[in-house]
């Protein structure tokens, strides 16, 4: 827990440059729910809405939203991705804040749109201006809403899954931990090799399923070793991949189906039941912040 304090102070000191937390008029945020939350994890979307409203933020859900286009961008289909990027810009460019429960989608809009639309007349500036409005959920809480407003209680031990795009591209590292440090009763335990990718990687997971599953197996094993009650994450792609893999392992008995030998771990695979996973927003919502 000692770490969290430093993380928190670092996060809040970084936050000062970007936005002020004490404003007189109520905050208004447009939710970009993301494809995965919309279809498979609606509860995450609902939790985001609940938490933001509880913190006094007015939440809107712009109708015309579709997808950020990261999957096609990363697969090399930049022309097709431009259609998604332009749509996103049209829908969100006039919002003051755009909040999304995904570090990966946020990094797509903030880091990749300006690159994708660079030099495209009429779009390059709009891409930059839209990018500046985008926040990942925990980042919004820290940088805009203000950490001191967060009070929740959730009894249990958890480990946090660091997602790659959020950490390395969006460079939002400390914020989710700072947010979680505001949850009474929640004990966070470290995860071995927490910087290692879980193996999702968008189309990587279907193009190289065996390698992807091997990466998941190692991650799941490290998670099991923490003896935590559950795992907290900020990206639903990782969650879908890891829970899907864990479910397959369970169905297949103690043996992972692709037979992926636990690698680094050099210790036999933990055969305990897979850990449940929750998004940061769900922890706050279930912890009474709705």
């Amino acid at each position: 827990m000692g770490n969290l304090q430093t993380d928190e102070s670092r996060a809040s000191s970084r936050a000062t440059g970007r936005a002020t937390s004490a404003t007189s008029k109520p905050l208004r945020a447009a939710l970009f729910v993301t494809c995965l939350a919309d279809s498979f994890y609606p509860d995450v979307g609902k939790s985001v809405v609940g938490v933001l409203r509880a913190l006094g933020v007015e939440v809107t859900f712009p109708e015309g939203q579709t997808c950020c286009g990261q999957v096609t961008f990363n697969s090399g289909y930049w022309a097709d991705t431009k259609a998604a990027a332009k749509r996103f810009i049209e829908v969100f460019e006039h919002e003051e804040y755009v909040v999304m429960p995904s570090g990966s989608c946020a990094s797509m809009v903030r880091e990749q749109y300006p690159q994708l639309l660079d030099g495209e007349p009429g779009w390059a500036d709009r891409a930059l201006s839209t990018a500046a409005r985008v926040y990942e959920f925990s980042e919004f809480l820290v940088k805009v809403v203000g950490l001191e407003k967060i009070h929740a209680t959730y009894h249990g031990t958890a480990t946090y899954h660091t997602s790659c795009h959020m950490t390395r591209q969006l460079q939002v590292v400390d914020e989710p931990l700072a947010v979680l440090s505001r949850v009474n009763g929640l004990q966070l335990v470290p995860l071995r090799n927490n910087q290692d990718c879980c193996g999702f990687g968008g189309t990587f997971s279907v193009k190289l399923p065996e390698v992807s599953a091997a990466m998941a197996d190692e991650k799941l094993q490290h998670m099991a070793e923490t003896k935590a009650d559950f795992v907290i994450a900020s990206d639903l792609g990782c969650m879908m991949h890891l829970t899907g893999r864990a479910a397959r392992q369970t169905h297949a008995g103690a043996t992972p189906s692709s037979s992926v030998t636990p690698s680094s771990s050099l210790t036999p695979s933990a055969s305990s039941a897979p850990l449940p996973m929750k998004h940061v927003a769900q922890v706050l919502a279930e912890g009474g912040l709705v």
């Binding site: 729910v33 494809c35 939350a37 919309d38 279809s39 498979f40 609606p42 979307g45 809405v49 409203r53 859900f61 015309g64 579709t66 997808c67 286009g69 999957v71 961008f73 990363n74 697969s75 090399g76 289909y77 097709d80 431009k82 259609a83 998604a84 790659c164 795009h165 390395r168 910087q195 290692d196 990718c197 193996g199 990687g201 189309t203 990587f204 997971s205 279907v206 193009k207 190289l208 399923p209 065996e210 390698v211 992807s212 091997a214 990466m215 190692e218 879908m240 899907g244 893999r245 479910a247 397959r248 297949a252 043996t255 189906s257 692709s258 037979s259 992926v260 030998t261 690698s263 680094s264």
Partner: protein, 498 residues
């Protein structure tokens, strides 16, 4: 222990366990999806089935990571060092022609010979001709990736010479007719027992599975070869333009013997290996061992300025430097130019999770790991190596780890874009992307598409998501979508609250 997956083309699991029988729980992908032989995926599956290699590579990665953390802390501000190193390399590559000229002038001034080889055939022809002229029968070599790249050993052996690798790792691989699996630790994938078996076969008598005995065997055998050799061939870690020096680093000292004992020393270097000055070299030499293996410094750093000169007691009588292009100039002047910044430290592999599980051989070419997935297609043609840029989850660990700041994962995405723009991608994927692009700009169609994805695709075992279903379950698709909830309750709840 878990079961070992059957690699394609083998009828039985290598460990002799019986295949699992799970009725309809058998992963559907396994039986329905044909895995192209010779593809990254096929080689990766082969790699996954080697538990020894996976444990070793993972152990080495974790060990290096710990050491690296320590030595980087000592360095003070590693980011500043990286920035400076990147700047040196980027500047050198941007002015490569001028530095090559300066380097060549200085080598020649010290009595060395320089040959520019446009491709592998050119380089091999020059070196084999030289070997014939010098009647070189025995040739010793120290570790060099570029000679692997051009297939020099094969060319020399074809010309009748005996070629001996003197780097311990390379020696093991040579005896076993195997290929390097890591840029820095070429025989990383071999266990001590395997090495003992290889050496015993070579010696004709059993050699114990014992590090000292194995090293003693190699040392004795190689020492005799060093003294018998007519020609020594080394690589070059850095060429210093201001002095014409060839700088070679090694932990075993074999590069020194290779470059100083035989009468003729041939240096084979990639054309991008230059640094402007010794001051610049200092920065790169400080970083190299730290990123390569978490070492503070390297055991041997050798700087060679020409052949033996008047007062020298030893050294070769002739020095030939073969500067190899072989596809490198394809990158010059393109967005991929920074790939030439690479100092071959292997750190991108040391941190790569795909490399960790699939192993170096999965990459198929001489250079493995993230940098291999980039330069192999760029040097040898993207059509031939078009599956390599997809051998990454784009986690970005490589980009963060690269001491010369090559945007590795961004290059991988850019190569995927090149593949789709060149029309050498798969038709199905292209159609899916077009459909997505259309759907993403038509919200009504898009949310319908989401529903189809949710209910339709997830229920089937084939189709584009077969790769998902082969290894994982889909989340349950019961219940309403967020959008449906928002319309029914979510939006109104907010209004009530206000």
């Amino acid at each position: 222990m878990t079961n070992i997956k059957t690699p394609p083309g083998r009828s039985k699991p290598p460990t002799g366990q019986t295949p699992q029988t799970r009725g309809d729980r058998t992963p559907p992908g396994r039986s329905t999806v044909k895995i192209k032989p010779g593809s990254f995926r096929a080689r990766a599956i082969e790699g996954l089935s080697n538990p020894y290699r996976r444990r070793t590579v993972a152990g080495v990665q974790d060990h290096f990571a710990n050491l690296r953390r320590e030595v980087f802390t000592e360095l003070g501000n590693p980011e500043e060092w990286r920035a400076r190193a990147a700047q040196i390399r980027t500047h050198t590559i941007a002015n490569l022609d001028a530095y090559l000229e300066q380097f060549t002038d200085n080598v020649t001034r010290h009595g060395g010979h320089v040959h520019f080889a446009a491709d592998a055939a050119d380089a091999n022809a020059y070196i084999t001709r030289l070997a014939r002229e010098k009647r070189a029968r025995t040739i010793v070599k120290s570790k060099s990736m570029v000679t692997e790249e051009i297939g020099l050993n094969h060319a020399l052996e074809h010309a009748g010479a005996e070629v001996i690798e003197t780097d311990l790792g390379e020696f093991i691989l040579q005896l076993d007719h195997d290929k390097p699996s890591h840029i820095v630790g070429p025989a990383l994938h071999k266990s001590k027992a395997e090495i003992a078996e290889i050496f015993s076969r070579h010696a004709g008598h059993p050699i114990a599975v014992d590090t000292d005995e194995l090293a003693a065997y190699a040392r004795k055998y190689l020492r005799d070869k060093f003294f018998a050799a007519d020609m020594g061939i080394t690589g070059c870690n850095f060429g210093v333009a201001e002095s014409g020096s060839v700088v070679i680093v090694s932990n075993e000292g074999n590069a020194r013997m290779t470059s100083s004992l035989p009468k003729v020393h041939v240096v084979v270097m990639g054309m991008e290996r230059l640094v402007p000055s010794f001051a610049d070299l200092d920065i790169l030499l400080t970083l190299l061992p730290k990123v390569a293996s978490g070492q503070r410094t390297i055991s041997y750093v050798t700087a060679i300025h020409g052949p033996k000169q008047a007062p020298d007691l030893d050294g070769p009588e002739e020095l030939h430097i073969v500067i190899v292009d072989n596809g490198r100039s394809n990158m010059l002047g393109t967005e991929y130019q920074q790939a030439l910044n690479c100092i071959r430290c292997g750190n991108c592999s040391n941190v790569c999770p795909v490399y960790r599980h699939a192993g170096g051989h999965a990459y198929g070419g001489v250079y493995n790991g993230p940098i291999g997935a980039i330069i192999t297609p760029l040097m040898e043609g993207i059509e031939k190596w078009k599956d390599l840029p997809y051998a990454s989850s784009l986690c970005g660990a490589c980009t963060d780890a690269c001491p010369v700041k090559i945007p590795l994962h961004e290059y991988l995405v850019a190569l995927r874009r090149d593949i789709s723009e060149a029309g050498i991608d798969s038709w199905g994927e292209r159609m899916a992307a077009h459909l997505f692009g259309w759907g993403a700009s038509h919200p009504g169609a898009f949310s319908m598409g989401q529903s189809i994805l949710k209910t339709g695709l997830t229920a089937t075992k084939v189709g584009p998501l077969g790769g998902w279903k082969s290894e994982r379950e889909f989340p349950s698709s019961a219940g309403q979508t967020f959008r449906e909830w928002w319309h029914k309750e979510g939006e109104r709840e907010g209004e009530r609250e206000r």
